[in-house]
């Protein structure tokens, strides 16, 4: 009996269609970038590794849910010295805090294709409320969200000790993202 129960459950699970409100991120077309200044000179970088789950039904934006998980050790700016420092204890402290997370429930429509996701951003274990503005364009089964937000890095403890001032490394970090996702199921 037990066997049949499990088998029946498995069949049910496999057969159940994917939720049409689930979106699958396409990493190759997506990008999570950041830019800042070091000794007055601008630099750009991006996170190579991040994943996310997105639930969004255009008919009901308030029920949308997004969770993006970023591998903090994957930050790269094209400079060996800077990239060597970023995962260190003074910066992301990637050993102790391997992931940064943004999680939001409900998109607020702001007219046209403008939205805001009010959520929580957690970096180095410090969680803060964050309103993330973005534009959302849906073409067929493909959605493209583009957004930008300026984060004061010290709000999240990124830059400890001598780095808590903006003398060498600017305090504001400009975070940009292009997120391409495809609708699952049919």
């Amino acid at each position: 009996m037990k066997f049949f129960a499990i088998a029946a459950l498995a069949v049910l699970l496999l057969a159940s269609p994917a939720n049409a409100a689930d979106w699958i991120i396409q990493p190759a077309q997506s990008q999570l970038g950041f830019s800042g200044t070091q000794t007055g000179a601008p630099f750009k970088g991006s996170f190579a590794k991040w994943t996310g789950q997105i639930t969004y039904d255009p008919a009901n934006p308030a029920a949308a849910h997004v969770k993006i998980t970023v591998d903090t050790a994957s930050a790269a700016t094209g400079d060996t010295q800077r990239d060597g420092a970023l995962p260190g204890a003074d910066w992301f402290n990637a050993t102790a805090f391997p992931q940064a997370v943004f999680e939001a429930t409900g998109f607020v429509a702001k007219g046209g294709n403008n939205f805001v996701a009010d959520g929580t951003l957690t970096i180095r274990g410090i969680a803060k409320k964050l309103s993330l503005p973005f534009t959302l364009t849906i073409a067929g089964k493909k959605a493209t969200a583009i957004g930008q937000v300026i984060l004061p890095r010290t709000d999240y403890g990124v830059g400890q000790g001598v780095w808590t001032t903006g003398d060498y490394v600017g305090l504001n970090v400009d975070v940009t993202f292009t997120l391409v996702a495809t609708q699952s199921g049919d």
């Binding site: 070091q38 000794t39 400079d79 060597g84 420092a85 260190g88 204890a89 000790g161 001598v162 060498y168």
Partner: protein, 189 residues
Amino acid sequence: MRGSPPVRYDLAAILLHWVIGLGIAVLIVLGLAMVHLPLAIGLKFQLYQLHKSIGITVLLAVLLRVLWRLTHQPPALPQDMPAAEKTAASASHFLLYGLMLAMPLTGWAMVTVSPYDIPTVLYGVMPWPDMPVLSTLVDKKPADAITTFLHHKLGYIFIALICLHAAAALRHHFFLRDGILRRMLPFGG
């Protein structure tokens, strides 16, 4: 099996001497400028990185030089040179070797325990590790104070000693005319 000492330094010793000498001259200028001049922060940062890169390069050259010195007999000093001067020459050369090692080692230690904790990347290309043991210290503040003090004070002693070394070489060349400087010149032996 100790043969009679050579008349001149060989090519390896001459090359190492002048490469190290040039490197140290650049390091002194960079070191004084980056610490004392009111430079733009970007330039200051770059000068520190260059100082570290050249410093480690000189350290490696000095290790070769020490290896050469341990395996070779240097040319003898002139026989008519007063014993006190010979002693002074040996002592100052010994001190020069000591400082040629102490300066880059205290510098490397300084970088390792620095509150800035900036990774060393030689010439922006080649990562260089932090100094063993020191890098594992839990509280680096005392070590930071000690290494900074040593690197700076030894630096001034080193500058004085290098001036003495150069002045002595010029005295031998222009006043005593005993050919001592010529033994270390690449040409005109």
